[in-house]
């Protein structure tokens, strides 16, 4: 098991970490989810048939782990448990996330785009991150998501349109941007 872990770690670890990080935007959570990815991968490595490349298989598992996490988070956020006083905390959680150091060091445009990723659907965000941050091809993205190429293109187009509109609105308002 160790040798499989070593091999996957050397080849893909930092890319998988980055992908999950840009999806969930929280370093600690990313660390936990990356662990989950390895557990799933190591448990099922023997069953990996090589129908897809090792890389797309790993990213596909990473995406499923992330989506499971979002689903869980959404359910937790919606829980109204006055007894535990969680009612409002779930709503506040997202807003309280500070900009990560790496983003805070970048220019305002990057910081705005980083914030705007939250305005995309999970599917749109997955495509935009895979295509333009992880620099995957349309075919690789389609393989990871298990979609057709045309669905990737459509989702990418819609996601980019949302971002373009948001950026245009932001430019029109001309307000100085204050990152959180």
């Amino acid at each position: 098991m160790r040798s499989i872990f070593e091999s996957l770690y050397e080849k893909y670890h930092q890319d998988i970490f980055q992908f999950i990080f840009y999806m969930v935007k929280n370093r600690e959570q990313t660390e936990d989810l990356v662990q989950e990815v390895y557990i799933k991968v190591l448990k099922s490595y023997e069953k990996f048939k090589g129908d897809s490349s090792e890389k797309t298989w790993l990213f596909s598992i990473a995406r499923h782990v992330t989506i499971d996490f979002f689903r869980k988070q959404e359910r937790k956020r919606k829980r109204l448990l006055e007894f535990f006083d969680w009612e409002k905390k779930g709503e506040q959680l997202k807003d309280q996330q500070p900009l990560p150091e790496e983003i805070a060091e970048k220019n305002e445009q990057i910081q705005i785009l980083y914030e705007y990723l939250d305005r995309l659907t999970v599917d749109q965000r997955s495509v935009i991150i895979l295509r333009f941050i992880q620099l995957m091809s349309i075919q690789e993205t389609a393989d990871i998501l298990g979609w057709s190429i045309s669905k990737v293109k459509t989702t990418q187009h819609r996601g980019m349109k949302v971002l373009q509109d948001l950026m245009a609105d932001q430019r029109k308002e001309g307000d100085s941007y204050e990152p959180k």
Partner: protein, 394 residues
């Protein structure tokens, strides 16, 4: 104009390329150790039945209790808990149940009582789920150890007066363990404090598990189950006098991480000496699909006193038409009635889907359009918790 749009799109793409590379600073060896530890913990535990002394004591008490005529119990006037899952025959006026309250609430809303001519009188049906939709009262989760010494049964406890305190609640509910058909509440008498995503459990100074690795595992799993559907990601453990907690064979355990997601199939816990059934989460492989989870529901097995909630001859297929909605088709070899058995099947499916993160389930293939509080023509909400109990703290 189009050229302009394309240029802007290209610019946007270039901006993304300038996004910083986010590096993981964890040590590789440390990461590997964490992963192997977690994998070891997740390995299926040996099906070894270990009855702890406390369980034996509860079993003796339980046998004594069933020998006594029910009337003596009622006349004692000392009952402090009402149990939502008491059989209808045993339900007395003073034991107003959560289920009864829910039924009453629903009966005031005719739209939710819409039935077809094929429906039966479902006023006697009992629900084992707690929903946000029905604006049910705040509850706390208290977990019980099954009589089989393996399963953990979560209860969502609501107080009649709305006042809930974990220590008092677990102490009071533990007195009802034998009526419920459970061995005990492993976290009975502890104090729980929560702040943000962390919780603290303070154990009484003289707290002891019954001994043996199975009771340590039971305690560990009870803590995990207590916080499973909450925001809590880490639980810190200590004794009242501040000493770090000793968890038997696990040694000193100062904190436990709560997994962000655990996939389970909800089956039926049925201790034969009581008439109560409860939904019990049976952990399944984290890689399992919803189809596999449904198959686990159908299959026999899962441990002693564990039954399938699915009537014989029924198959279940799941499909995800869009995020957070699961479409479930139920195929039965003979026609299903809108009875308690079907109700239990539907609720087990809903609870199982919830553990996969689904918000709603659209049920198809059932020969009735509504049952109890469920209108099957629309997607059904998945529950917040299972096994509601109403506690009277007077």
């Amino acid at each position: 104009m189009n050229q302009n749009k394309n240029d802007r799109r290209k610019e946007l793409e270039k901006e993304f390329e300038k996004f910083p590379f986010i590096q993981d600073h964890q040590d590789k060896d440390e990461l590997y150790n964490k992963i192997s530890l977690q994998m070891m913990e997740e390995e299926p535990k040996k099906r070894k039945r270990v009855i702890m002394p406390v369980f034996a004591l509860v079993a003796v008490l339980f046998l004594t209790a069933i020998i006594l005529p029910p009337i003596l119990i009622e006349q004692s006037g000392e009952e402090s808990m009402d149990i939502a899952t008491e059989s209808n025959e045993d339900a007395e006026d003073h034991s107003e149940t959560l289920h009864d309250e829910q039924s009453a609430e629903i009966s005031q809303n005719p739209s939710e009582m819409e039935v077809t001519e094929r429906d039966v009188d479902d006023s006697d049906l009992q629900s084992y789920l707690v929903f946000e939709k029905f604006k049910e009262s705040p509850f706390i989760v208290a977990v019980a150890a099954g009589m089989n010494g393996e399963q953990i049964i979560p209860f969502a406890i609501t107080a009649k007066d709305g006042q809930l305190d974990y220590t008092t609640t677990t102490t009071l509910v533990a007195k009802q363990a034998e009526d419920l058909g459970v061995a005990g509440f492993p976290l009975q008498g502890t104090v729980i404090n929560m702040k943000g995503t962390e919780a603290e459990i303070i154990f009484p100074d003289d707290f002891q598990t019954a001994g043996g690795s199975s009771s340590d595992v039971m305690l560990h799993n009870s803590i995990e189950q207590t916080f499973q559907n909450s925001q809590i990601s880490q639980v810190n453990l200590k004794y009242q006098d501040g000493r770090p907690f000793e968890m038997g064979n696990f040694g000193t355990v100062e904190s436990l991480k709560i997994p962000s997601s655990v996939k389970v199939s909800y089956k039926l816990y049925n201790y034969p000496a009581t008439e109560s059934n409860f939904l019990v989460p049976i952990k399944i492989n984290e890689n399992a699909t919803i189809e596999e989870a449904f198959q686990t529901l159908i299959d026999n097995g899962g441990g002693e006193y564990i039954d399938s909630p699915i009537p014989a001859g029924v198959s279940i297929e799941g499909e995800e038409p869009r995020d957070e909605l699961l479409s479930v088709t139920i195929n039965a070899s003979k026609e299903l009635e809108a009875d308690q058995r079907s109700m239990m099947m539907i609720e087990a499916v809903l609870a199982t889907a919830a553990s996969f993160g689904y918000e709603h389930v659209q049920l198809q293939g059932l020969p009735f359009r509504s049952i109890h509080r469920y209108d099957l023509s629309s997607p059904l909400e998945t529950p917040e918790a299972v096994n509601p109990l109403l506690m009277d703290t007077d």
